[in-house]
C-alpha cells in the first residue's frame, strides 16, 4: 500500500464503517481491514490518519485500530512469518514517541499502550534510543508531555514488580537505572519545587500532582527487585520528599467527590506502598527513616475523614502500621501506653465504625454486603485493615490492647443503652471490636478456632447478644440482629453448647426477618451450627435435640425462600440440605410438602439457572429426600419418580445444560433404589442417553456413565432382549470415551459394567473388537492411567470368562499376543494398580491365569509363569508403585482447556463401592494358595519345580506364608 492520499481516503471510509451499528456494514469493513493489515505501510497510514485526519472520530478510531494491530502483530513468533515488515517497524519506532506526546489525551493513551507492547518485545536491545528520547523530554518543561513520558515509562517498567529475577531482566533494569534514575530524581525535585511555586494555581497543581503520582509509581517499580545503588545513595532526597508529601495538604487538591480518590489520596497511598516496600525488603537501609514514616502515617490516619474516597489510602496506611508493629525491633515505637491508647482511639475505633456506605450496602446491596462481611472478600476495607492492626498489636501488647478496648466497648455499650434507636451504631462497633479482639484464628468450616483468653465471650454473649435476639420484633435494628447472629456463627466453637441450644429457636425465628442480611445470616448460622462437632468428633447438636423444632424449622426455611430478594438464596438452600441431613427420618412426615416445594422451585429456576450454588444444594436436598424416605420405605421411589420425572423431562427437552448432569445423578439414585427389573419408563429413555450430543459435553460424561452403569446393573437382561440393537451404540460410547486420555477411565467403568452384567452371548460378536480397540490405545498413546484401568479390565474379563478365554481371544487377534501382554504389560506394570477392590480383581484374575490356563503350563508361555507369580506376590507385598513417567505429570492440568468446572458431583447421590469378586474370594492370598494347590494336584511335581528354578527367595518366603495360612502344601 502506497502512502497516498487515495489510500488514506479508502482507509478513512473503512474505519468509519467499522463504527457502524449495523453488522452488515461493520463486519465486511472489519474483514477488509484484517485482509490488508499485512501490507507494507498499513501501520504508517494509520499513524498518519490519527495525526492528520480532519475528523476526531477517525483519529481515535485509527489510534485504537493501530494499538490492536500492534497487539496482534508485533511479536515475532519463532517459525512463523514476521507479520510487520522491517521498514515499517523502524518507522513506527522512530515516530511513535513524539506522536504520542503531541497527541490529545485520548489518543495518547492508545499510543502509550502501543509503545509498551512494542517495548515489551524490543526494549532495550532493539530500541536503544527509547530511553534517551524519553528522558530528553523531561527537560521540555511541558508537563503534558512529561506525563505522557511518565505514563509510558510506567507501563514499560511495571513488569519489574512481578517478574522473576534473571540476568536479562536485571541487565535491562540496570540500563534503565543508568539512564533514568538521575533524570527522574531531578524531575521529582523540580516537580516538588514547582508545586510550591504554583501552590495557588489549581490547574497547574493537578498536572504536577499527576506527575508525582506517576513518579512515585515508577519509584516502586524501579526499587522492587532490589535496592539499586543509585536509590540507596539518594534515599535522603526521596524519603525526605516522600515524607513531606505525606504530610502535605492543599485545599485546591481536595475533591468534592465522596467516592473517587483524588490525586492527593492516590499519591499518599502510593507513598505508603513505597514505604512499606522499603520497610519489608530494605529494612537495614531504611531503618533511620522508618520512625518518621510511622509518625507521619499515623497522623495521616488521625486526620483523614470517613469518606469512601479515602478508603484505599486509609487501608494502605493501616496495613503499613500493622506490618511494622509486628517486627520486634520496632516494638518500641508502639510500646508507650499513650501511643497505644491513641492508636486504638484515633485509628482503630473510628475505622471500625459502621458508615453510611455500609448502611446503604446492608439495605440495598445485601449480596455484596454478605460477601464482604461473611466470606472475607473484605481485604481492602478499612474495617479489615483495622482488624489486622488489632491482631498485629496483640502480638506484643495483647494485655494492654485488650484493656484499652474493654474500656471502649463498655463505654460504647453504655452509649447504646442510653438511647438504642439513636445510638445503635455504637453497639455495632462494640460487637465488631470484641470480635476482632477475640479472634485469633478462623476458618469457614469451624468459625473462630482460637480466641483471646482475655475476652469473656460467653459473658458477652449472654449479656449483649442474646437479649437482642430475644426481642419479639425480628425486624427491629436489623444491623444489630445480623451482628448478633454472626457472633453466634463465628464463635460457635467457643460458646458452650447449652447457649447454642438456647439460640436455635431464636435463629429459626429470624428466618422470618424481612432484612435479607438477617434471614440469610440466620440460615447460615443454623447450617453452620448443624456441622459443629463436639469433643468426641460426633455432631454436637443431635436430631433428638432438634426434634421440637423440626416443623417450624422446615416451615420457616421454605418460607424464607419466598421473602423478597431471597428466592434463590444459596444460604437458605444449603441450610435446607443440612437440616435434612441432620434430621434424617424425622423429616419423612413433611416430605410430601417438601418435595412439592422443591420441584416447583426446580421448575422455576430451570427457566434461567443463575445461581450455581443454590442449584447444587437444591439437587442435594432432593437426593437427601429420596434417600431418607426410600431407606425407610423402598416403595416410595415410585412417588418420587412421579413427582420429578415431569420436571426432568422438561429439563432434558429444553436442554438446560446446567441441570442435565444433576438430573442424571438423581435418576441414577432413583434407578438404584429399584430392587426388581428396570421399569419401562427408564427403558424408554435409554436410546436417548446414547445420543452423541450428550456425550460431547464434558460435564455430562461422569453422571451419564454412572447412569448407564445403573441401567446395566438393573436392566442388563432387558437391554439384551428388548434393546439389542442399541448395543453397538452403547459400545460406541465406550469407544468415544476410550479415545480420550482424559475420559478413558470412564470408558472402562462402562466396559466393566458391560462385561460384568450383560449376558455373554449378547456381546459375543463385539468382544474381539473391544480388545483391538484397547490394544490400539496401548500401542499409540498409553498413559499410566490407561494401563491401570486396562489391567483391571482384563483381569475382570478373566474372572468372568475364564483365563483360557482370555488367552484365546488375545491370540486370535494376533499370534502370541497373550504372551506379549503378559510380558510387556501385566508383569512390569501390575504394581501400579491402586485401590483395594482393583487390586483384588487383579489378584484373582492373575491367579486364574496361573492356575486355570493350560497354555501357561505347556507352551512357550510357561517361561512367563514364574515371573507372573512373582509379580502377583509383588502386588500383594510391595508398596504401590506411584511413579509416573515425566511427560505425564501435567497431563491433567496442561491438557485441560481452561479450568471450567463442568461437572458438579452430588455428595448425597453417591454410589456405593462395588466389589464384583466380593462373594467369590475373601482373601486373595489364601485364594492363590488354594488355587496353586489345586493346580499341583492336577500335575504333581510341576509347580514346586517351577518355583524352585526362578522365583526369588523373598517371594518364595511370602508364598510359603500363604500356603501355611491356607493349610495346604504343593505336590
Amino acid at each position: 500500500m502506497e502512502l497516498s492520499d487515495a489510500n488514506l481516503q479508502t482507509l478513512t471510509e473503512y474505519l468509519k464503517k467499522t463504527l457502524d451499528p449495523d453488522p452488515a456494514i461493520r463486519r465486511p469493513a472489519e474483514k477488509f481491514l484484517e485482509s490488508v493489515e499485512g501490507s507494507q505501510n498499513y501501520p504508517l497510514l494509520l499513524l498518519t490518519l490519527l495525526e492528520k485526519s480532519q475528523e476526531n472520530v477517525i483519529k481515535v478510531c485509527a489510534s485504537v485500530t493501530f494499538k490492536n494491530y500492534i497487539k496482534r502483530n508485533w511479536r515475532i513468533v519463532e517459525d512463523e512469518p514476521n507479520k510487520i515488515c522491517e521498514s515499517d517497524r523502524i518507522a513506527i519506532k522512530a515516530n511513535i514517541v513524539p506522536l504520542m506526546l503531541s497527541s490529545p489525551e485520548q489518543i495518547q493513551k492508545q499510543l502509550s499502550d502501543a509503545i509498551s507492547i512494542i517495548g515489551r518485545e524490543d526494549f532495550p536491545q532493539k530500541w536503544p534510543d527509547l530511553l534517551t528520547e524519553m528522558v530528553n523530554r523531561f527537560q521540555s518543561g511541558d508537563f503534558h508531555v512529561i506525563n505522557g513520558v511518565l505514563r509510558t515509562a510506567h507501563s514499560l517498567f511495571k513488569r519489574y514488580r512481578h517478574e522473576f529475577k534473571s540476568n536479562e531482566l536485571w541487565t535491562e533494569i540496570k540500563l534503565v537505572l543508568d539512564a533514568f534514575a538521575l533524570p527522574l530524581t531531578n524531575l521529582f525535585k523540580a516537580t516538588i519545587e514547582l508545586c510550591s511555586t504554583h501552590a495557588n494555581d489549581a490547574s497547574a497543581l493537578k498536572v504536577l500532582f499527576s506527575s508525582l503520582v506517576l513518579i512515585a509509581k515508577l519509584f516502586y517499580s524501579l526499587n522492587f527487585q532490589d535496592l539499586p545503588e543509585f536509590f540507596e545513595d539518594n534515599m535522603e532526597t526521596w524519603m525526605t520528599n516522600f515524607h513531606t508529601l505525606l504530610t502535605l495538604d492543599n485545599k485546591l487538591l481536595q475533591t468534592d467527590d465522596e467516592e473517587e480518590a483524588g490525586l492527593l489520596e492516590l499519591l499518599k497511598s502510593q507513598i505508603c506502598d513505597n514505604a512499606a516496600l522499603y520497610a519489608q525488603k530494605y529494612d537495614e537501609e531504611f531503618q533511620p527513616y522508618l520512625p518518621r514514616f510511622v509518625t507521619a502515617i499515623w497522623n495521616l490516619l488521625v486526620t483523614t475523614g470517613q469518606e469512601v474516597k479515602y478508603d484505599l489510602l486509609v487501608s494502605n496506611a493501616i496495613q503499613f502500621l500493622a506490618s511494622v508493629c509486628e517486627r520486634p525491633h520496632y516494638k518500641h515505637l508502639f510500646e508507650d501506653q499513650n501511643t497505644l491508647t491513641s492508636i486504638c482511639e484515633k485509628v482503630i475505633v473510628p475505622n471500625m465504625e459502621f458508615r453510611a456506605a455500609d448502611e446503604e450496602a446492608f439495605e440495598d446491596n445485601s449480596e455484596e454486603y454478605i460477601r464482604r462481611d461473611l466470606e472475607g472478600s473484605d481485604i481492602d476495607t478499612r474495617r479489615r485493615a483495622a482488624c489486622d492492626l488489632v491482631r498485629g498489636l496483640c502480638k506484643f501488647f495483647e494485655g494492654p490492647v485488650t484493656g484499652i478496648f474493654s474500656g471502649y466497648v463498655n463505654s460504647m455499650l453504655q452509649e447504646y443503652a442510653k438511647n438504642p434507636s439513636v445510638n445503635w451504631k455504637h453497639k455495632d462497633a462494640a460487637i465488631y471490636l470484641v470480635t476482632s479482639l477475640a479472634s485469633k484464628a478462623q476458618t469457614q468450616k469451624h468459625g473462630i478456632t482460637k480466641a483471646n483468653e482475655l475476652v469473656n465471650l460467653t459473658e458477652f454473649f449472654v449479656n449483649h447478644i442474646l437479649p437482642d435476639l430475644k426481642s419479639p420484633s425480628v425486624n427491629e435494628f436489623p444491623v444489630l440482629k445480623a451482628d448478633g447472629i454472626k457472633y453466634i456463627m463465628i464463635f460457635r466453637s467457643q460458646v458452650p453448647k447449652e447457649q447454642l441450644l438456647l439460640s436455635i429457636p431464636l435463629l429459626i425465628n429470624h428466618l422470618q426477618a424481612e432484612s435479607i442480611v438477617v434471614h440469610t445470616y440466620a440460615a447460615h448460622a443454623l447450617e453452620r451450627l448443624f456441622t459443629v462437632r463436639g469433643t468426641n468428633n460426633t455432631i454436637l447438636i443431635t436430631a433428638a435435640e432438634m426434634a421440637p423444632f423440626v416443623e417450624v424449622l422446615l416451615t420457616n426455611l421454605f418460607k424464607a425462600l419466598t421473602l423478597p430478594g431471597s428466592s434463590e438464596n444459596e444460604y437458605i438452600m444449603k441450610a435446607i440440605m443440612r437440616s435434612f441431613s441432620l434430621l434424617q427420618e424425622s423429616i419423612i412426615p413433611y416430605i410430601p410438602s417438601v418435595i412439592t416445594q422443591l420441584t416447583q422451585k426446580l421448575l422455576a429456576v430451570s427457566k434461567n439457572p443463575s445461581k450455581p450454588h443454590f442449584n447444587h444444594y437444591m439437587f442435594e436436598s432432593i437426593c437427601l429426600s429420596i434417600r431418607i424416605t426410600c431407606k425407610a420405605n423402598p416403595d416410595a421411589v415410585g412417588s418420587f419418580e412421579e413427582a420429578l420425572f415431569m420436571v426432568f423431562t422438561e429439563i432434558l427437552q429444553n436442554d438446560v445444560q446446567e441441570f442435565i448432569p444433576y438430573v442424571f445423578q438423581v435418576m441414577s439414585l432413583l434407578l438404584e433404589m429399584h430392587k426388581n427389573e428396570i421399569p419401562s419408563s427408564y427403558m424408554a429413555l435409554f436410546p436417548h442417553l446414547l445420543q452423541p450430543v450428550l456425550w460431547e459435553r464434558t460435564g455430562n460424561i461422569p453422571p451419564l456413565v454412572r447412569l448407564l452403569q445403573a441401567y446395566l446393573e438393573r436392566g442388563a437382561n432387558t437391554i439384551a432382549s428388548a434393546a439389542a440393537d442399541k448395543i453397538p451404540g452403547l459400545l460406541g460410547v465406550f469407544q468415544k470415551l476410550i479415545a480420550s486420555k482424559a475420559n478413558d477411565h470412564q470408558g472402562f467403568y462402562l466396559l466393566n459394567s458391560i462385561i460384568e452384567h450383560m449376558p455373554p452371548e449378547s456381546v459375543d460378536q463385539y468382544r474381539k473388537q473391544i480388545f483391538i480397540l484397547l490394544f490400539q490405545r496401548l500401542q499409540n498413546s498409553k498413559t499410566t492411567k490407561f494401563i491401570k484401568s486396562f489391567l483391571v479390565f482384563i483381569n475382570l474379563y478373566c474372572i468372568k470368562y475364564g483365563a483360557l478365554a482370555l488367552q484365546e481371544i488375545f491370540d486370535s487377534i494376533q499370534p502370541k499376543m497373550f504372551g506379549m501382554v503378559l510380558e510387556k504389560i501385566i508383569i512390569p506394570e501390575i504394581q501400579k494398580v491402586s485401590g483395594q477392590v482393583e487390586k483384588k480383581i487383579c489378584a484373582v484374575g492373575i491367579t486364574k491365569i496361573l492356575t486355570e490356563c493350560p497354555p501357561m503350563m505347556d507352551t512357550e508361555y510357561t517361561k512367563l509363569w514364574t515371573p507372573l507369580l512373582q509379580a502377583l506376590i509383588g502386588l500383594f507385598e510391595l508398596p504401590e508403585d506411584d511413579t509416573i513417567p515425566d511427560e505425564e505429570h501435567f497431563i491433567d492440568i496442561e491438557d485441560t482447556p481452561g479450568y471450567q468446572t463442568a461437572f458438579s458431583q452430588l455428595a448425597f447421590a453417591g454410589k456405593k463401592e462395588h466389589d464384583p469378586v466380593g462373594q467369590m474370594v475373601n482373601n486373595p492370598r489364601i485364594h492363590l494358595a488354594q488355587s496353586l494347590h489345586k493346580l499341583s494336584t492336577a500335575c504333581p511335581g510341576r509347580v514346586p519345580s517351577m518355583l524352585s528354578t526362578s522365583l526369588n527367595a523373598e517371594a518364595l518366603q511370602y508364598l510359603q506364608g500363604y500356603l501355611q495360612a491356607a493349610s495346604v502344601t504343593l505336590l
Binding site: 512481578h162 545503588e229 545513595d233 525488603k281 453397538p728 480420550s740 475420559n743 500401542q779 485441560t896 458438579s904
Partner: protein, 516 residues
C-alpha cells in the same frame, strides 16, 4: 527469558522430587548484574593502593626525610628518561608522591607521560635499592587503579620484573613487589594466570616463614588470596595445589587480617565445581573453617561462612564432611546473628544442607536447626527470609513424611504463609511449591483436611486466593492449582473429540499390528 525458562526449571524440580538432591543445591548465584551497592565488609578489595596518610606512621626507609623536591610533570619525564641516577631517583620519588595522594591521584596523567616502561626498567636496577623501591611503589599505585591502569603496568612489562624482585635481598622491596603483584592478580583471571604462568608462586611462597614480620605476611596472604580469586576460568589446579598447604598453615595464624584473607582465599577456591571443593576438603581444613566461622570477628566469620557455604553446595559426601566438622553446631548462632548478611549466608548454607538426603535432613532436626530457622522466617531480614524459604522448600522436597511433620510442628507454617505477602515473585512461587509439598505429605498421612484447616486458620487461604490474581503467570497458576486441588473439592474433566454416525456412536475398529 525467565518466563520461558521457569516452567522447565519447575518441571525438573517436580520430577526430581526427593530424588535428585544435587539438582536442588543452589550454587552461589552468578549474577553478573548487581543493582545493589557493593558492601565493604562482604568482600576484600581487589586492589589496594598506598596513600601518604597510611604511610605516615612508618616512614619508609630510603626516603629522604628532609628534602622534599617538588617537580612538574615535564621535569619528571625529562629526569626519568635522562641518565642522571640522582635525578632519576628524585623524579621517580616525585611521581610516587603524586600517585600516593589520597584524593584523585593523577594516574592517567602519569600513564600518559609514557614513563611506565622506564619505571619498569628501574625495577631491575639492583645497584640502586632506593630507585627500585620508589619505582615499585609508583607502579603499585598505578596498578591499584582501574583495569585500564593495571593494563598499562602489565603492558609495560612489569610482571617478570616484579616476580624477580620477590627475591630481592631488601625486604621492603620484596614486600612492595608482593603488593604490586597482588594488585595485578586482583584484576581478573587473565592477569592472574599470566602471573601464575610466569611462575610467581614458588618465590612468593618462599617468603612465608616463621620469622616473616606480620605486616609482610598480611600482604603475602592478600596476594595469595587474589591468586585464588575469580572464575571463568578458575586458577590452574596445580597452582591451587601449591598454594593450599601454605594457606592452611596461614589459617592457624593469630593475626585477624591474615586469617580473614586466608579464609577469603579458601572461599574463592570452594566457589566452584565439586572437584574444586574436593581439593579443599582433602586438606582437612573444614574443622578449622567451622571454628573460625563461629569466632567473634566479623571479618573472619564472613569469609569462613562463605567457604563453608560453598562446600555444602557440593556432593552429599562433601556436605557430610562439613557436617562432621561441626557446621550444624555453629549455624544456629549465625542464623540468629545481628548482621543481616550473616543471617542470609547462614540460611543459604542451611538451605543447601536441607537439599541433601533425608539422613542429613535428620541431622538438621537433631542439631535443633528448626527453631532458629522458623525464627528467621518470622523475624529475619528479608534477604535472610528468602533463603530461609528455600531451606524450607528443600526440606519439604527431600524430607520424609515424619521429618516434614516435625517441621510443621516447629511452627514453620505461620511465618511461611505470612511471607506470601512478600514483594518478590520467586519467593512466593517457592512458598507455593512448598505448600504443595506439605499437602503431598499430608495426603500420605490422611491429614489433608487438617492441613487445609491449619492453612486457613493462619490466614493462608485468603493469601493464596489473592495470589490467583497475581500478575506473574507462574505464581497465579501455582496458587490456582492449590485452590483447585485442596480447597474446592470439585473436579475438572476435559474434552475430547469422538466419532459419530447414524445418530449414535458407531462402534467399529480396524485391526492393526501390535507391538508394545
Amino acid at each position: 527469558m525467565p518466563v520461558v525458562n521457569e516452567p522447565s526449571e519447575r518441571m525438573r524440580k517436580f520430577k526430581n522430587r526427593g530424588k535428585d538432591a544435587a539438582a536442588m543445591r543452589r550454587q552461589r548465584v552468578e549474577v553478573n548484574i548487581e543493582l545493589r551497592k557493593a558492601k565493604k565488609d562482604e568482600q576484600i578489595l581487589k586492589r589496594r593502593s598506598i596513600s601518604i596518610v597510611s604511610m605516615e606512621k612508618s616512614p619508609t626507609p630510603g626516603e629522604d626525610k628532609n628534602v622534599i623536591i617538588q617537580l612538574s610533570l615535564e621535569e619528571i619525564v625529562k629526569a626519568v628518561n635522562g641518565n642522571n641516577p640522582e635525578l632519576q631517583l628524585q623524579a621517580t620519588q616525585a611521581a610516587r608522591r603524586m600517585l600516593s595522594r589520597q584524593k584523585d591521584p593523577p594516574l592517567n596523567q602519569i600513564i600518559e607521560l609514557g614513563i611506565i616502561p622506564r619505571l619498569v626498567e628501574f625495577l631491575t636496577r639492583a645497584d640502586s635499592a632506593p630507585l627500585q623501591f620508589e619505582a615499585a611503589w609508583a607502579l603499585t599505585n598505578i596498578a591499584s587503579g582501574t583495569s585500564e591502569h593495571t593494563r598499562a603496568v602489565v603492558e609495560g612489562g612489569a610482571i617478570p620484573a616484579f616476580i624477580a624482585l620477590l627475591s630481592s635481598p631488601h625486604m621492603h622491596i620484596s614486600e612492595q613487589s608482593v603488593w604490586a603483584l597482588g594488585n595485578i592478580a586482583g584484576d581478573g583471571p587473565l592477569y592472574r594466570d599470566a602471573l601464575i604462568n610466569c611462575n610467581v608462586i614458588p618465590p612468593l611462597l618462599a617468603l612465608v616463614s616463621p620469622v616473616t614480620p606480620i605486616g609482610f605476611l598480611r600482604n603475602i596472604t592478600w596476594t595469595l588470596s587474589n591468586l585464588c580469586r575469580n572464575k571463568n576460568p578458575y586458577p590452574p589446579l596445580d597452582a591451587v595445589k601449591k598454594m593450599l598447604p601454605v594457606l592452611t598453615c596461614l589459617m592457624e595464624h593469630e593475626d585477624k587480617e591474615i586469617l580473614a584473607d586466608s579464609c577469603w582465599a579458601v572461599s574463592y577456591l570452594t566457589d566452584g565445581s565439586n572437584d574444586r571443593i574436593q581439593i579443599v576438603v582433602d586438606t582437612g581444613i573444614l574443622p578449622r573453617l567451622v571454628e573460625l566461622m563461629g569466632g567473634p570477628e566479623l571479618i573472619i566469620m564472613t569469609p569462613a561462612l562463605r567457604a563453608i557455604g560453598n562446600v555444602v553446595t557440593g556432593t552429599d559426601e562433601q556436605t557430610q564432611a562439613a557436617i562432621d566438622a561441626g557446621v550444624l553446631v555453629i549455624l544456629p548462632l549465625l542464623l540468629r546473628h545481628a548482621k543481616p548478611t550473616i543471617q542470609k549466608e547462614a540460611a543459604w548454607t542451611l538451605s543447601n544442607i536441607a537439599a541433601g538426603p533425608c539422613q542429613q535432613i535428620q541431622q538438621l532436626i537433631t542439631f535443633r536447626l528448626l527453631p532458629p530457622l522458623v525464627e528467621l522466617l518470622d523475624k529475619g531480614d528479608f534477604k535472610a527470609q528468602k533463603e530461609a524459604v528455600w531451606a524450607v522448600a528443600n526440606f519439604t522436597t527431600g524430607g520424609t513424611v515424619e521429618q516434614v511433620v516435625e517441621l510443621v510442628r516447629s511452627g514453620v507454617l505461620k511465618p511461611l504463609l505470612n511471607l506470601l505477602l512478600a514483594k518478590d515473585s520467586k519467593t512466593i512461587l517457592v512458598i507455593l511449591d512448598t505448600i504443595s509439598n506439605l499437602f503431598l505429605a499430608a495426603e500420605k498421612l490422611g491429614e489433608t483436611e487438617r492441613l487445609c484447616l491449619l492453612v486457613e486458620e493462619l490466614d493462608g487461604l485468603e493469601k493464596i486466593e489473592a495470589l490467583q490474581t497475581h500478575d506473574n503467570n507462574m505464581v497465579y497458576r501455582a496458587a490456582l492449582n492449590i485452590i483447585e486441588k485442596y480447597f474446592s473439592g470439585e473436579e475438572n474433566p476435559d474434552l475430547q473429540p469422538g466419532t459419530d454416525q447414524d445418530g449414535l456412536y458407531n462402534f467399529s475398529v480396524e485391526k492393526q499390528d501390535f507391538d508394545f
